[in-house]
């Protein structure tokens, strides 16, 4: 059967219709909303680009915006190190086919299936300065100087949340790395053994280059995930992303602005939509840039 353009269109149409109704239209209307002033009730008022100018130039919105952007970058770096590097290490260990490998593969993946709210609650308890096990353990082994109000200290709060987040999602990159590792032909390693290559050389010159497509895709997913993150911060620090906005990322800033906060100022949907548009632009441009830099380099 020959493939015609019409049959192609017919097959694409249902998905396109659904995608348009549920994704594309809301996205466009959200971009449009950034040009209006609206509290959620009553009439919308057209204000042009003033939401954007407020966001970039007016205190405290510009302070909050750049603070959350900066925190988001920190959160991304923490996640790359805590989640993806850890996932690679675990995958390398599991790939050695030691006893219990299959069991641990399941164990490391289990947290991914738990709800973010539960993970947030659990780790809030672990970090609790009064009765949390973390400080308790630190104190009982004589490391009292390390015991901190983890979620209350501006220096450690975001890092602490990144640890909880990485603990939950380490299973997904781990699985991807494992699949990548298992697809490397054993012949290459055997040939390198004959040449007398050390294990470090094997890792840096054989393994790493051969799983670089996996690294690429995981980094992309982490970037998109982190710059649209919200839930874990909300679950552990609330909408105000304390202490003193040290855990405020674009997602929480957006939520607080668009939907208001407990007994606070009324919601500012227009300004919120402007933040969402910026998030969309950052993620879109970031991914395009990343794809152009590394995506085309398929020849390793």
């Amino acid at each position: 059967m020959k493939r015609s353009k019409t049959s192609f269109a017919v097959f694409v149409l249902p998905a396109f219709v659904i995608y348009t109704i549920f994704m594309l239209l809301p996205l466009i209307s959200s971009l449009g909303l950034s040009l209006f002033s609206w509290t959620g009730y009553g009439e919308k008022e057209f204000v042009g680009l003033s939401n954007f100018s407020r966001l970039f130039t007016e205190n405290p919105f510009n302070v909050r915006f750049f603070n959350s952007l900066f925190n988001n970058m920190k959160f991304f770096i923490y996640t790359i190190i805590l989640q993806n590097v850890a996932a690679l290490v675990i995958a390398l260990l599991l790939n050695k086919e030691l006893t219990g490998s299959k069991f641990f593969r399941t164990v490391y993946f289990i947290p991914t299936t738990i709800s973010v709210v539960i993970v947030g609650f659990l780790w809030t308890l672990i970090y609790n300065p009064l009765w949390g096990p973390l400080n308790y353990v630190l104190k009982s082994v004589g490391l009292e100087f390390l015991a901190k109000p983890w979620l209350g200290d501006p220096k450690f709060a975001l890092l602490s949340i990144a640890v909880a987040n990485a603990w939950q999602y380490v299973g997904i990159p781990m699985m991807l790395f494992l699949a990548g590792l298992q697809s490397i032909s054993q012949d290459i390693y055997e040939a390198s053994d004959i040449d007398g290559v050390s294990s470090w050389q094997k890792f840096f010159y054989i393994t790493l280059p051969l799983i670089s497509p996996v690294i690429f895709i995981i980094t992309t997913l982490t970037f998109v995930g982190n710059f649209s993150a919200f839930e874990i911060i909300y679950a552990m620090e609330g909408t105000l992303a304390g202490p003193n906005y040290s855990t405020d990322i674009l997602g929480t800033f957006f939520y607080r602005t668009s939907f208001g906060q407990r007994a606070g100022a009324p919601p500012d949907m227009g300004l919120g939509a402007a933040i969402a548009s910026c998030m969309f632009a950052i993620i879109g441009l970031g991914v395009i840039l990343w794809f152009n830099l590394y995506g085309k380099r398929e020849n390793y």
Binding site: P14, G42, P60, L130, G152, G242, A263, P266
Partner: protein, 452 residues
């Protein structure tokens, strides 16, 4: 042949898809129209019936207080006994979903007749949106008994009232009676006594105050709200502030920040990471002696630890014999939906709710919530009743939490600024004077708006 078959199949699929979309719409409208027509005829019938033969009218009230459903069933039953023709249903929606529910229900015209309205700007938005009727003493005669300060949270700038004021909570300090007695301490009357008690508790290894810095709303509502009163002179100061006659650099305002700053010496270790639920737990498990909070906790604390023996005291004063203020936070009022078909019945119901009897009923059944009706002087629950002992005979010593009215119309709002200022003061970034300056600078938009 195969191609034709495939095309047919896809065709059928698409048809059902579109039929599904289109069909839903037409079914919807078809469904709605007769129902609406039926409803209006029914309403006319009931209205006539109500006046002539006394056929029952049904009203519904929506609210975000799902936990009070039982109490409201009792209140509505009592109302029904006096007005057998009017039956009221309580339809609560989860607190966090209430505002979006209401928005959808009001715009589609399907909201309940009586609407529990949040105080201040959140409620005013409903009136500004044109969803609530204006209330006055002509339709709700019992409004005349309510003090002006409690009507303000439900009034526009030009004094129009859009909800009958009712549920308020009192804020101050809860204390553990057992711990106080075993350390020979009494309820403090002055701040000196308060800090002396804290010092004694601290020396005995007991956490004096169950408070943390993690949930910043507690800094604004549970600390600044009650503590400010003796230093600035209560409600009068607030009235001056919203007229722009005083500001946040006022000596009393700075003094109250100083006291809040001093409190932190008596918080548990690592208080920076302690949140609201931890504060509750510390008090429930009797690890901490004093808990800055309010009457709204009464029911929960008793449920969690039935052996917990606790009492309350209002904000201490500077010098013995000073006027003792009692801080209140207005939570809800009753509004009437503009689309209500039985206005008379709705007015009767709301008027009864804010009568002495309805007000007493609320205090007795919904523990920790009170009406400001002057005749309510005690309620059924012992702990909840203790708060009312701090009301002066003329009950002119109540200050509604200062941060709400007119000061939260836009970002940065005064509550967020206060929380920011207090946490920076606790970290040591700000002196109390600088903290006051932070709030003053952030509220520039408010003072500018008054000048105009």
């Amino acid at each position: 042949m195969k191609k034709i078959l495939a095309c047919m199949l896809i065709g059928i699929l698409l048809l059902t898809l579109f039929a599904g979309c289109g069909g839903g719409k037409s079914f919807g409208t078809e469904d709605k129209e007769p129902a609406k027509a039926e409803q209006s005829t029914q309403n006319e019938e009931t209205k006539n019936a109500d006046q002539d033969t006394g056929k029952p009218v049904e009203l519904a009230m929506t609210s975000w207080r799902t936990e009070d459903a039982e109490g409201w069933a009792k209140i509505n039953e009592a109302f029904n006994k006096q007005y057998p023709n009017i039956k009221v249903k309580f339809n609560p929606v989860k607190n966090t979903e209430y505002d979006s529910y209401l928005q959808a229900a009001l715009t589609s015209g399907k909201a309940e007749e009586i609407i529990m309205v949040r105080s201040f700007d959140a409620g005013k938005r409903l009136y500004d949106g044109g969803y609530l009727v204006e209330l006055n003493e002509a339709v709700i005669p019992n409004l005349k008994d309510m003090p002006a300060s409690t009507k303000m949270p439900f009034s526009t700038e030009d004094g129009k009232i859009y909800a009958a004021p009712e549920g308020l909570v009192y804020l101050g300090f809860l204390y553990n009676k057992k711990i106080f007695e075993s350390n020979n301490l009494n309820k403090p009357e002055t701040w000196d006594e308060f800090f002396k008690a804290c010092e004694v508790l601290k020396s005995k290894g007991i956490i004096p105050i169950a408070q943390g810095a993690k949930d910043s709303w507690t800094l604004e509502e549970l600390l600044s709200g009650p503590i400010i009163m003796p230093f600035v002179g209560g409600e009068e100061w607030k009235q001056k502030l919203i007229k722009g006659e005083t500001d946040f650099l006022d000596a009393g305002f700075v003094k109250h920040l100083e006291v809040i700053n001093k409190l932190k010496d008596y918080f548990p270790e690592g208080y920076e990471g302690i949140g609201y639920t931890d504060q509750q737990q510390m008090f429930i498990s009797e690890q901490a002696a004093i808990y800055p909070s309010g009457s709204f906790e009464t029911f929960y604390l008793k449920k969690m630890n039935p052996d917990l023996d606790f009492g309350c005291f209002a904000t201490p004063v500077q010098n013995k014999g000073d006027k003792r203020w009692l801080n209140a936070n207005v939570s809800f009022g009753y509004g009437i939906n503009k689309n209500c078909k039985n206005m008379d019945a709705a007015n009767t119901y709301v008027n009864w709710l804010v009568s002495a009897e309805g007000a007493q009923m609320l205090g007795d059944t919904v523990v920790g919530f009170y009406s400001r009706h002057p005749e309510v002087r005690g309620v059924a629950d012992e702990q909840a009743s203790e708060w009312l002992t701090y009301l002066s005979p003329q009950s002119d010593n109540v200050m509604i939490t200062w941060t709400y009215q007119y000061l939260k119309k836009q970002q940065p709002d005064v509550g967020t600024l206060t929380s920011e200022a207090v946490s920076k003061m606790w970290i040591g970034d700000y002196t109390p004077q600088q903290a006051a300056q932070h709030i003053q600078d952030g509220m520039k938009w408010f003072f500018d708006s008054i000048k105009k």
